[in-house]
């Protein structure tokens, strides 16, 4: 097999493999959360009172804080990509660091929220709020798992950017960025759906 053979040519669509794959994966993620929201809508309609009372128990100011943190980290992620594409390694590292901090902060706030719920016995199977708190833990839980899932490669890239003179794969960061914005995007729906009580 001659190594001169070049079958893995330039992508046909001119879009990087990683990016298409990530978008396809995000389409899949959208359907995943669609499943949750579809059932959420139905059960909210049939259990409106329960959902209303449940939402009263949640601390929307904390969630609001988290919203800002996530939006902020989305911004810093976009900036990080912007600077990496312009070979601005220092700034890339700063913004990526900020993004990681944001993710971390988000999880800390979440931790406080969850432990408060735990102390007040506000988890599924405890009282008549079960349906609502089922959804609360389901949706925020999966969302938090996505946050963790995003942090791992971010931290990896962050340290790689120290060991090498610069992180060498801007397209990978861009792909990760897509994912990270998606995490933000899901929160944009989860926040009003769970925390805010629409009269």
């Amino acid at each position: 097999m001659s190594s001169a053979l070049n079958l893995s040519h330039e992508p046909v669509t001119k879009v990087k493999h990683g990016k298409i794959a990530m978008w396809a994966f995000l389409a899949s993620e959208l359907m995943f959360f669609s499943g949750f929201f579809g059932t959420f809508i139905v059960l909210r309609n049939t259990n409106y009172e329960v959902f209303k009372h449940g939402a009263h128990e949640l601390a929307w100011p904390l969630a609001l804080l988290n919203t800002f943190i996530l939006i902020g980290s989305s911004l810093t992620m976009a900036m990080a990509i912007y600077h990496l594409e312009r070979h601005n390694n220092g700034k890339f590292r700063t913004y990526l660091g900020l993004t990681i901090l944001g993710a971390f902060g988000f999880l800390i706030v979440k931790y406080f929220e969850y432990s408060a719920k735990w102390q007040h016995h506000l988890f599924p199977g405890q009282d008549e709020h079960t349906v609502f708190f089922s959804f609360y833990f389901l949706m925020t839980g999966f969302h938090a798992m996505h946050v963790v899932g995003g942090m791992i490669p971010m931290v990896y890239m962050f340290f790689k950017s120290y060991t090498k003179s610069a992180y060498p794969h801007p397209s990978k960061v861009e792909t990760l960025g897509l994912y990270w914005h998606f995490v933000d995007l899901m929160w944009i729906f989860i926040f009003p759906a769970l925390y805010l009580i629409f009269p």
């Binding site: 929201f37 609001l64 939006i71 912007y82 594409e85 914005h181 629409f198």
Partner: protein
């Protein structure tokens, strides 16, 4: 990404500012103002539609600017359009539950 470079950063900031404002607006629309009821189903006020519209605007901002849908290959948009369409199909059918047809 090979679009006009000068405009990218300011557009990010604009999106960020929009997102923050809209977030505050949602909270306001949900917790503090009551626009009035909509139909017989409990929990369906005009507020909820305000909330949904705001969320959709926010999401469009994120997708088109932060996620570059506006600048990238148009094919990529289908990865959003199709799931959204299917979400509507699914929600439509799911909400036809028997609760309202069999039980009185």
């Amino acid at each position: 990404m090979s679009n006009d470079h000068g405009k990218v950063l300011p557009s990010y900031m604009k999106v960020f500012a929009t997102l923050c404002t809209l977030t505050l607006l949602t909270v306001g629309a949900a917790e503090f103002i009551h626009f009035g009821d909509l139909g017989p189903i409990p929990g369906y006020s005009i507020n909820i539609f305000v909330g949904i519209v705001i969320a959709v605007v926010k999401v469009i901002c994120v997708m088109y600017i932060f996620m570059h849908l506006k600048f990238d290959h148009p094919m990529l948009r289908f990865f959003v359009y199709v799931p959204v369409f299917l979400f509507f199909v699914m929600s439509f059918a799911l909400n036809f539950l028997e609760k309202w047809t069999y039980t009185r």
